[in-house]
């Protein structure tokens, strides 16, 4: 340290650096904001297409609608066929208490209340263990299940669902998530009938 700089110089240099940094970030934020929003939307749309693919062509709104129940809230897309009849729902719920916290799960449900397919939107489950929930081997057992025809718990807890090897907590959260989606479906279905 050769000489002691004046306080004024020290402050002005720091302020200048911070100013340029802020200006640069504002610019980058401006050009990336739209692609980021588009990516998120695109992924959700992609997920809707996957979980409802068995229903064929249909119309659904661009943005999901909100549905609040007493215990949790969900978002959903309504799929309608050409004549405007409701053929199914894609319901986004939080799967509660996974190994890495809650995670977002989309469940496709047809108009009779049967699960079509599931899609995990984002999660922090352990790679190689919990994230096997995205694999076909685990997902296929949920297809065709409804609230009435299934005991919604993993086999260890006396239910009908085969848990993932070494990822029981993730499987419980996933099962509870699908059950939540079916509960939301029942509410939506009742409302649609009225």
């Amino acid at each position: 340290m050769s000489k002691q700089e004046s306080g004024f110089k020290v402050i002005s240099v720091l302020v200048l650096i911070a100013f340029f940094a802020a200006a640069l970030l504002a610019y980058v934020n401006k050009i990336t904001r739209e692609p980021i929003a588009r990516n998120m939307k695109e992924e959700t749309k992609q997920a809707v297409r996957i979980v409802l693919q068995n229903l064929g062509q249909f119309d659904y709104p661009d943005d999901p609608l909100d549905k609040s129940l007493t215990e949790f809230t969900a978002r959903y897309f309504t799929a309608k066929n050409a004549s405007g009849q409701i053929v199914g729902y894609a319901i986004i719920v939080k799967a509660p208490n996974g190994f890495g916290g809650d995670f977002d799960l989309m469940v496709g449900i047809d108009s009779t209340g049967k699960v079509l397919d599931t899609y995990v939107l984002n999660h922090k489950e352990t790679p190689g263990l919990g994230d096997n929930m995205k694999k076909e081997d685990f997902k296929k057992q949920f297809r065709g299940r409804s609230l009435a025809n299934t005991r919604w718990a993993v086999k260890k807890d006396g239910g009908d669902i085969d848990a993932l090897t070494a990822a029981t907590i993730t499987s419980r959260a996933f099962t509870a998530g699908v059950k939540r989606a079916l509960t939301v479906f029942n509410v939506l279905n009742e409302e649609a009938k009225q």
Partner: protein, 200 residues
């Protein structure tokens, strides 16, 4: 400074991970697969390169007393740029690495190179230093990620090597596997570095 010598040095003897043992938090946390390793490595390389160049440019302007805060502002700016542009272009990769990108700010390799190298050398040399150090970091993350992915998931760069129903050594995907693999890689790199030194 000889570029070839500098390159060999940053990959082996002075490799940030296996030589200097710096930045181990992102190293251990993100290398569950080879792809994640490369992604994290390249993100860090970009930040290292840019911050080295800017710190070197400003080395006569930044007052000595506040150099560390100044470096941190510069580094944090580039990390945020990487974070936002990754989210805009490589959305899937960002979903797996997202949590760790902001942590590049406190990666000691970057502050270490700014303080130890860029603040004392010309822009061109700092650029090379950032580039090679970053690539060295990427290289070791790639090796570590490959070992863990092959042993832990039975795949490499997402390509399955064994049938999905076979059991793999799961522990390698988890945190203890990261430490184990790193230990063995350190032994291997130490041997290699000695070979290079003897060859000189």
């Amino acid at each position: 400074m000889n570029i070839k010598e500098k390159a060999i040095k940053s990959f082996f003897m002075e490799n940030p991970v296996t030589g200097l043992l710096l930045g181990l938090c992102p190293t251990l946390a993100t290398t569950t697969s080879a792809e994640n390793g490369i992604g994290m490595g390249l993100a860090t390389t970009f930040v290292l390169l840019s911050s080295n160049v800017v710190v070197s440019l400003l080395r006569n302007v930044i007052p000595n007393r506040v150099r560390i805060p100044a470096y941190i502002v510069v580094i944090a700016t580039f990390v945020t740029i990487v974070d936002m542009s990754m989210q805009a272009t490589l959305y899937q990769l960002h979903k797996t690495l997202g949590l760790f990108i902001p942590l590049i700010v406190v990666n000691c390799i970057i502050l270490g190179r700014a303080e130890a190298f860029a603040s004392k050398n010309t822009v061109w040399h700092s650029f090379l230093d950032g580039l090679f150090m970053g690539l060295g970091f990427t290289f070791s993350l790639f090796i570590l990620g490959s070992v863990r992915e092959i042993l832990g998931s039975g795949a490499w760069l997402g390509i399955r090597l064994i049938p999905e129903s076979w059991n793999t050594i799961l522990v390698f995907v988890l945190a203890p596997g990261a430490f184990l693999s790193l230990g063995f890689i350190l032994i291997g790199m130490e041997r290699l570095s000695r070979l290079f030194e003897r060859g000189k």
